[in-house]
Symmetry: C2
Subunit: 620 residues, 2 copies
């Protein structure tokens, strides 16, 4: 019966997650620059699918005319990207073993800044999944509008599939992962090139008026412009990925990683500016009525609706966004495992599953991002105010950490290096403040409230583990005197085979065995006594009256009476008969008294509870 259950469970498990892998199979694949670009850049590059749109959605609050401000804002964000990339260039060389923000901040700034970075990163990994999947689904529903009402369901299915694949242990397999990234790059550059050719062929006309009219709902204030800028900063998410992954590069690791970072920054800037420029020229603005994405509209303007290149664009966009989400499925469990090893997260996060993946981290990420998708209705725009705050917090801390590092380790031209990182820290710090202020009411407050909660969780976990280690330590361990006396108590509710089985085992444990009967219904007592006379083997039976029909209270009181915690050589063992039914549902047909008794004595010292299973077979 159970054997079959186990086997069934096992084969379903294997079907979904594959055969278990031996620890010795844990090998690393080293990546060439071309493959590494694909693996590490998908997150950053994919944000060009929504960054321009999110920026414009804020601008058009001041009327459709304000949409043209997207272009100067995009230029400012490109400048910001240059500064951030330069700063990370230095991190790559300083931390050839991988310089994630947590490690850099923890090493150079101390515990709390390190945990702030960790909390921001983990939060942003969750948001990366939610935002990327929502945007990916939006790319699909733009192509097939009837699917729009099902976007939450589709997004959850994507996350579920990604979770299963990652539990199977999909590692950053360069070859497979580089295909969608390069397809996306080819199609996006095709879009930009075709668009530019059309614009030039038309005689480089002045920008077309916006295709959809938005009334002026707000005045065009500096605050509104900064809010739009903050939305656009979503384009920068994922830039830190390469600096985390330096050891995955072929040697010389740092040099190759730095080159790849430069290539990524150039591609990202080109795509982001290109999309923004063409949208501006062709009068494409976000459409909150049809829910069609800006890139989809641009694709139809440039390639024409229902053309092969247009569909390819949409599929490639969806694909790279899913891939971007998948990078979080590698990063979140890895950082959780590091934090677990440093005793800031439950140590279950550091366990390798039988497919060599950090299963718990993968499951928690899938659950958390699914929850966000449900709470925010699978809408990218609603999630954006929560996104990027954590990214900029970790950017700032990691660069401040680099400044502190230069001041400590010095080395050639350290002042210049500290200046580069210092400028990076200042600029990202300012963006962080702008972001927090302009997005506060839209949702950034959630992250601002959440991060301190998360950090106090880290610290509480840490305190617990440190305290446990101290309590378990054998340093001052004094050998206890051996137990000479085991007082065994067998609570009974009736006299039948299961009770006699428990009694049988109890007699093997000790000569001092007493049965106790909690008398909830005094009319049954004579019958119990009569049966005990016959089957009780002369073992004394205590009757405990219970006028309020509680089983537990009289038992606890009795055990407290016969126990003596001051006698180190005495232990009390409670032996309980426990039914084990052939089918799980049948277990519900029996009282859970054994469980309740176990719970009641769990916290009492020097009392051990033993369940003696009695196996019921099913009806033949």
């Amino acid at each position: 019966m159970t054997q079959t259950f186990e086997r069934k469970g096992m084969s379903l498990r294997r079907l979904l997650f594959g055969d278990p892998l031996s620890t010795s199979q844990l090998i690393h694949e080293r990546l060439t620059k071309v493959k590494a670009l694909a693996v590490f850049a998908s997150d950053a590059l994919s944000s060009t699918a929504y960054a321009t749109e999110e920026m414009m959605l804020i601008l058009v609050l001041a009327g459709s005319g304000a949409a043209h401000l997207a272009w100067p804002l995009a230029l400012a964000i490109a400048g910001l990207l240059v500064i951030v990339a330069s700063s990370y260039h230095q991190t790559i060389h300083a931390y050839p073993n991988g310089g994630g923000s947590y490690i850099v901040s923890h090493d150079n700034l101390g515990q709390v800044p390190g945990l702030v970075a960790a909390a921001s990163l983990l939060t942003d990994y969750v948001l990366t999944v939610s935002v990327s999947i929502s945007a990916g689904v939006a790319a699909l529903t733009s192509m097939a509008p009837p699917l729009y009402p099902y976007r939450v369901g589709i997004a959850l299915v994507f996350i579920l599939v990604m979770m299963i694949l990652n539990l199977r242990g999909v590692r950053e397999s360069g070859t497979i992962f580089s295909i969608p990234t390069y397809i996306f790059l080819i199609i996006m550059f095709g879009l930009l090139a075709t668009g530019m050719v059309k614009w030039i062929a038309a005689g480089m006309p002045a920008p077309l008026p916006p295709q959809r009219h938005y009334p002026v709902a707000h005045t065009l204030t500096l605050f509104l412009i900064l809010r739009a800028f903050s939305s656009g900063c979503a384009a920068l998410t994922g830039v830190e990925a390469i600096s985390n992954g330096v050891p995955a590069f072929k040697p010389p690791e740092s040099k190759n990683a730095a080159t790849t970072l430069t290539a990524m920054a150039v591609l990202l800037i080109t795509l982001f500016l290109g999309v923004t420029f063409l949208a501006h020229q062709f009068g494409v603005v976000p459409d909150e009525v049809t829910h069609e994405t800006l890139v989809s509209q641009l694709g139809r303007v440039v390639f024409g609706s229902n053309t092969l290149p247009y569909y390819a664009l949409q599929f490639a966009t969806a694909l790279i966004l899913v891939l971007a989400a998948n990078t979080s499925f590698a990063d979140f469990p890895r950082l959780s495992a590091i934090l677990a090893r440093d005793r800031y997260m439950p140590h279950q996060f550091s366990h390798l599953g039988d497919r060599l993946a950090f299963s718990n981290g993968i499951i928690v990420l899938a659950l958390a991002s699914s929850l966000l998708i449900v709470l925010f209705g699978g809408t990218t725009t609603r999630l954006i105010p929560l996104y990027a705050l954590g990214v900029f917090l970790s950017f700032t801390l990691s660069q401040l950490g680099m400044v502190a590092r230069w001041r400590r380790v010095k080395g050639p031209r350290w002042q210049l290096k500290a200046l580069v990182n210092g400028v990076g820290a200042c600029v990202t710090g300012i963006v962080l403040i702008i972001f927090a202020l302009t997005k506060f009411v839209d949702g950034a407050w959630i992250v601002i409230v959440w991060i301190p909660i998360f950090i106090s969780f880290f610290l509480a976990v840490h305190r617990h583990y440190v305290s446990v280690a101290k309590q378990l330590s054998l340093e001052t361990y004094g050998d206890p005197s051996p137990i000479h006396h085991n007082r065994v108590i067998v609570p009974i509710g009736d006299v039948h085979r299961a009770v006699l089985a428990a009694l049988h085992y109890a007699r093997a444990l000790s000569d001092d065995v007493t049965a106790v009967y909690v008398e909830t219904d005094p009319t049954r007592t004579p019958r119990i006594l009569q049966k005990w006379e016959k089957w009780g083997k002369g073992i004394p039976l205590e009757i405990l009256p219970s006028p309020y029909r509680s089983i537990i209270a009289p038992l606890v009181e009795y055990v407290d009476r016969v126990n003596d915690p001051t006698r180190r050589d005495l232990v009390v063992t409670i032996v309980l008969p426990q039914f084990v039914t052939a089918r799980p549902w049948q277990q519900l047909l029996h009282n859970q008294t054994a469980l309740l008794i176990q719970m009641a004595f769990l916290f009492r010292k020097e009392v051990i509870v033993v369940n003696v299973p009695f196996h019921l077979h099913d009806i033949a």
Copy 2:
């Protein structure tokens, strides 16, 4: 710590549910006819609040003009009520100890008919709560339409409060319960009298045209008329209540109960016909736009909007409907307890809680009726097609049972008595068939599918308990030879105080103790061996390799190797260290390996698992 938890839990419990009651406090209050009418008739009388409306809602499908058919249908239902009441009159005299349909059918027709009656009754008790509460909330929202969107939430709060009150052990306290019933009767008769006076004063005009126009959506077929008739039959629900409760009457019980039944039938017929007649005369028809109930509309027509009598009518209606729901909170747990005692339901349903209420039945009823409220959007009309089918099924069975009884016991004028019950059985049987056919697609199919499932559950439970009793029986019990050898295995994951505490206990159990270490990471093994050398007390330590990092599989394999189920004098005991944290959330920071090991060995014979708790204290 825990003591405080327990105490906190205890005081919250007492606040909500009151102090525990001793079994000897279980006394019965005997009811006068006046009080008994209030207690037992609330369910039946309250159905006049919605029966006319539900009938008309079907009729107006054939256009507003068809609403006038409500009057002849109401007369037919009144005739049906006379037949059913006469039939139950006889049951009351035949079963002075209470003749519920389950008992009457089980006694006279056999197991399966008894279970059919039981399944129908339990189902209808759940529906009584859902329907009455929905209708009660509708009475409130008719008065305060802005509350309409919150009807599901309000209904759930009502059920929750009723659950808490019943867990406290509100018994059918005649005095308290008679007040709302008599207020309702006074106000309803006031409504009817005032309405009649108005109508007579106006010179008894012909009926007004319907106040709201309904287009002709269906032809007025016989099927539609029978469908409306079926909806109106909801008025008959609750008629059987008195026959269940004969022992609660003051002596002479049967005579008093019979008189009360007659009074109830007269009141019910008067109210039902009165409401239907006045609605007909004043052109009041259900309003699916404002969601105002028919009785509320009638109240405003007769008393005027915003008058004190109108508000009193609505409050009294809501109150008696809640009271009607409350009768199910007495009946459902009581019948469940009877079924549990007969081993058709899990025996937990027969446990008296510490307030002398059948707590499990109360909780299950609250959950099931809440679920129906949520699934059917708290709308009476959607629940009506499920309702009353069970009532008529149990009516029919109980009367067939009475016919069988007369044929068996005979007695004076038994043929006449059998005829009365026979007519009752035929008529209710025909109504049952009409109901099932006309309401099938509207929802009756759910009940038709559900009842056989429920019955097979009863039978499966019964088979299990019978089989368990046989397996536990000591009739052929042969005394096993005593256990001479207890082989104790202590699985360890490290060497620390908790492991040594388990080892300490293990040595008290047996001289044959072996520690085993499942080696998931071979690099840790030398350190473990070195520590064991120092602290292991010379106890042998087995190293079990586990290349796939599973803890359970190598352990199960090892135990299978050292165990010998053929040796009756040998038992294997696994002693596990188990962390008990000071705060419950901290428990999540530890592996649940002990639990997994326990689960893995639960089904293996002759292996006993013992947890030795190690109490971690919180940080000072």
